[in-house]
């Protein structure tokens, strides 16, 4: 037998230390949840508005999803939140994430495809990437097969879209903001391809 003298006061102190550690642990854990909650909201918002998910790729912090609707219009969402998952970054700058949205349309016409390819070359010269996020608001044209797409990026504060306590996303707000971006993308793409 060892000579440990049991002291209830010390055990109670230990329990308190572990309990307070759990509170701190939760803060770190929850900092990594918010981007996933936002991505869930993005997916739900699109499905609630007539789209279905065609593709999704995610490494846990950079998320990509492609959606299509009945009219075969396709949209792509990329959510990049690597920096926003860091609790220090989140507490100083906020839960900032880069949201890249793209509107795609099929142009089964050779002359249109050539036009899209020319626009893609020009697009590659526009805008850049400073810090961890692409320049916001720059329209870029991309051509892939008979599909032309127009994409742009914005920066979002995830707490504007996700409840900080329940982690439930505001899908109506997410959709309203995505819709605003898609409208401008569609308008620009139609103008370029006209």
């Amino acid at each position: 037998m060892n000579n440990v003298t049991f002291n209830q006061e010390l055990e109670d102190r230990f329990i308190q230390l572990v309990q307070s550690s759990w509170d701190t642990y939760s803060q770190f854990e929850q900092a990594s949840w918010i981007d996933d909650a936002m991505m869930g909201g993005v997916i739900a918002a699109h499905l609630q508005n007539g789209f279905f998910m065609l593709d999704c790729i995610s490494d846990g912090s950079s998320h990509y999803a492609r959606f299509v609707n009945e009219q075969r219009d396709r949209v792509v969402v990329r959510l990049m939140s690597k920096a926003g998952e860091d609790i220090v970054f989140a507490r100083t700058l906020g839960n900032i994430a880069g949201l890249q949205l793209s509107f795609q349309r099929s142009y089964p016409d050779i002359s249109k495809i050539v036009k899209a390819m020319k626009s893609e070359l020009k697009s590659n010269l526009a805008g850049g990437k400073s810090s961890d996020f692409p320049d916001p608001g720059v329209f870029k044209i991309d051509a892939e097969g008979t599909t032309a797409s127009c994409e742009t990026s914005i920066l979002v504060e995830l707490k504007d879209y996700v409840d900080a306590k329940t982690f439930l996303p505001d899908t109506q707000k997410i959709w309203a903001h995505c819709q605003a971006v898609y409208q401008s993308l569609e308008k620009y793409l139609a103008g370029v391809m006209a």
Partner: protein, 165 residues
């Protein structure tokens, strides 16, 4: 001609994306139930999402859809019951249960319980033909999917209920 080929190509893409279509619906349904997504990883043919449940038993629930052959997939649900242990007496008792579980083997289609000190996991998996969840182009037969998920979540919750402190 180009238009017809484009149309065929798009239809083919939609046909091969059944798992993504179904998984999107799973995410939508879970969020509409008030269970936000707090973890997400995906690659071609494999999607995994974790949802915050925060009910009387479950802390979180992981849903994994893994496409095997054609539209045959495995649907795995893994519930987490978290007890934030702080009392050494509880830890000693959990260690004993952990030790007993070492000899348990996962049996496909049945519930597997796994203790990891502060968390107890219940996992169930089953083979699904994704076509059974579909009801047209991009349309998911939501009542069938929701009923299936609801039943499985209940099974996982009940399997963990006795471990919740």
């Amino acid at each position: 001609m180009l238009k017809a080929l484009t149309s065929i190509f798009q239809a083919y893409q939609e046909m091969t994306s059944k798992d993504e279509i179904v998984f999107g619906e799973i995410i939508r349904w879970m969020i509409e139930q008030g269970w936000p997504m707090i973890g997400f990883t995906a690659q071609e043919g494999y999607q995994r999402a974790r949802f915050l449940m925060k009910d009387e038993v479950l802390h979180s629930l992981e849903i994994i859809l893994d496409k095997k052959v054609a539209a045959i997939s495995t649907l795995t649900l893994r519930g987490q019951c978290r007890n934030q242990l702080a009392d050494p007496d509880d830890m000693i008792s959990m260690f004993k249960t952990d030790f007993q579980n070492i000899l348990k083997l996962p049996i496909f289609g049945q519930m597997k319980i796994n203790h990891e000190y502060n968390s107890i996991y219940a996992t169930t998996a089953g083979v699904r033909k994704l076509g059974d969840y579909m009801s047209g182009r991009g349309q998911v037969n939501r009542p069938v999917l929701e009923q299936d998920l609801h039943a499985k979540i209940n099974d996982v919750r009940e399997a963990l209920r006795k471990f919740k402190r």
